[in-house]
Symmetry: C2
Subunit: 385 residues, 2 copies
């Protein structure tokens, strides 16, 4: 176990009816910008609950933050924040809205070219705006971390960043707010939460016995509830567990002192940026390939995964590992998320471009052992045709 | 799963050598009071590391905080804090030092009779002092929560309280700092961490599938590492896991939205207050009795505990539950912690007094179902003779 520093001060307000607490969570003297996406929050009633709770606040709105939030869109919001002298950002939506809002918070008082915050990890020179969130799509864990991923439509780049300054002050998690999600978003969210966990778990043993078991707790819960929840989307208890798993998968708890991988996300982001495939879908395609290409290096943890998460007791170690990878694929497919590039009509025409982009971004040696190369990324994609 | 609010902002600084970070964790303009116990921190080198790191701070010392910290001792510290105009409290030691420091923080600017903070949950009328901690005995989780337990030597009462205002700003966890602990303190600490977890887990099912598995993660890790660590107390990896389990057992994470019991602690505190038995020992005596007396009400979770934590697959449900309780007892005994009152030469002469005290303190119906009575406490003790 490596030395670590852990701090996560986000106030989680969890449960049915909790959106009504908004009025007490934001000072009434704050001018609030309500940020959201395409309008689903108007159809599912969340918008009305928010406006009712904030009836004594001054609220301006910015809507239209798209999936894989775009730099151009977010900079329009930044301009509006400046013009309207907004001093509190309330993000209501999925990970894209939350991530976009974090970027807006960081960019509003940033001196310089704001894309550098993402592309060059530029230090935040100005004060960030405080953020509250209401998450309506469990998946990214953005409600309890300081990560954000933004897409630059000009350069066709999708890149992630972490800035402690944009950690939300509070996040409201109301399981009833996710009842009306389309099936595809639910299944993508389950896959996303699952693979956030494997990125922090399927590496090499480093004596994090508790962290390992905490990661396995999330994986086993998702395997148990995922398919059930897809069939019963207004089941409060299943919705609650899905939501809480998604948050715990990426709130920093399971990774303290442990090696991390994140290669699946790195390649997945390229597939989304270049082919437009959903984030969850991209991960479901890539993960089995990464596990295959790095099977030897990950053997010990893969075996533990086979035995503890999938309860595989028969066979040689290699057979157990192969079966665990197959069961992972079957799990994603059982959720309706296809796992082959051909399922999405993706050909190999841009594999070389991906290799070049990773090389150019200096992703020469990545993964938990700093041994994963841009050439390995092509191998992974070849395996997932 | 019930609605919940969760927030834990403690900064955890974990690992070897981290005590040297103290100087950057406390502003140099703060006047620091270093609080500790009987001097073990001088023998194990922690005191020297602290003073080296704080060489540019003004530091006053208060030592002699005893196990089960006493109100009288703590009020002497309060007087010194006021006289010396201290503005930062650094607690270095085990749970008793940390708990006592929280009380000192709460009492310093409290208007009124300070024991009321504990006995009557009096609101904190004055500003509390900021706290940092260096934990040298993993057990209570005090380093990452706002709980504190204080003993009043006049009334022979040992009572607990929780005040968010006294949550530590930071806690340093250096596994090397626990190498020299006496065996008894290690085994008590393992038992304490284990039973903190069961108090939040062995209740009734409430659809907290992830919380259940997170609790099982701690229990299984303690079972795995506990006996090994006792035989190998300078093993860094085992020390790290013991330490991190103790923190996670009571940092609030596993109990969110879930029923809790705490009857074992309630009775255990009486045993410590009246007979002077160690806290960990008192819990090891009481828990098996509580599980026995409330076996029917806890049946579903006890069965889950048997199957998932102890991997018991054979027999009827009742047999599985009985075996799990026996394995729990065997585990404590394997750590060298005896589980019978007679092992500590405790007779039944004060059982009636315990019943009366619980009755007087209005502990008429407690536990996760509000069904545990003072008479049940006597039944538990009779079973553990």
């Amino acid at each position: 176990m490596q030395n670590f520093i852990f701090q996560n001060s986000v106030k989680i307000v969890f449960g049915k009816g909790q959106i009504s607490k908004l009025s007490s969570l934001i000072d009434t003297n704050k001018k609030v910008m309500l940020l959201y996406g395409g309008g689903s929050i108007k159809r599912n009633g969340v918008y009305d609950q928010v406006m009712e709770s904030l009836k004594n606040h001054t609220v301006v709105e910015f809507s239209g933050i798209e999936p894989n939030p775009q730099y151009g869109t977010l900079m329009r919001a930044v301009q509006m924040v400046r013009n309207e002298k907004v001093d509190f950002l309330l993000a209501v939506g999925g990970g894209s809205v939350l991530d976009g809002t974090k970027f807006i918070s960081a960019a509003t008082n940033f001196k310089g070219y704001a894309w550098d915050i993402i592309a060059k990890n530029a230090p935040l020179t100005g004060v960030t705006l405080p953020i509250g969130t209401i998450i309506t799509l469990p998946a990214t864990g953005s409600e309890m971390n300081a990560n954000f991923v933004v897409t630059n439509e000009d350069t066709k780049e999708k890149l992630g960043m972490n800035k402690p300054e944009v950690l939300p002050q509070f996040s409201i998690l109301d399981p009833e707010a996710i009842y009306s999600l389309p099936e595809k978003q639910v299944s993508n969210g389950i896959v996303d939460s699952f693979i956030h966990t494997t990125e922090q778990y399927l590496t090499y043993p480093d004596h994090g016995y508790l962290q390992d078991r905490q990661a396995e707790a999330i994986l086993k819960t998702l395997i148990e509830i995922g398919p059930k929840y897809l069939k019963d989307k207004t089941n409060y208890e299943l919705a609650s567990n899905f939501m809480w798993c998604a948050t715990n998968a990426l709130n920093g708890n399971i990774s303290v002192g442990m090696p991390q991988d994140w290669v699946t996300h790195m390649i997945g982001h390229e597939l989304t940026a270049l082919y437009g495939v959903d984030h969850g879908q991209s991960l479901a395609i890539v993960l089995p390939g990464v596990l295959e290409v790095k099977k030897e290096e990950k053997a010990e943890k893969l075996l533990q995964y086979a035995e503890r998460v999938w309860d595989i007791t028969e066979g040689t170690n290699e057979e157990k590992i192969d079966l665990a990878i197959q069961k992972t694929i079957d799990f994603f497919e059982s959720l309706g998320v296809k796992t082959r590039l051909s399922d999405y009509n993706i050909d190999d025409s841009k594999f070389e471009m991906i290799r070049q982009r990773l090389t150019k971004r200096n992703m020469l040696l990545t993964g938990e052992r700093k041994s994963f190369t841009p050439e390995d990324a092509v191998k992974v994609l070849e395996l997932r045709k």
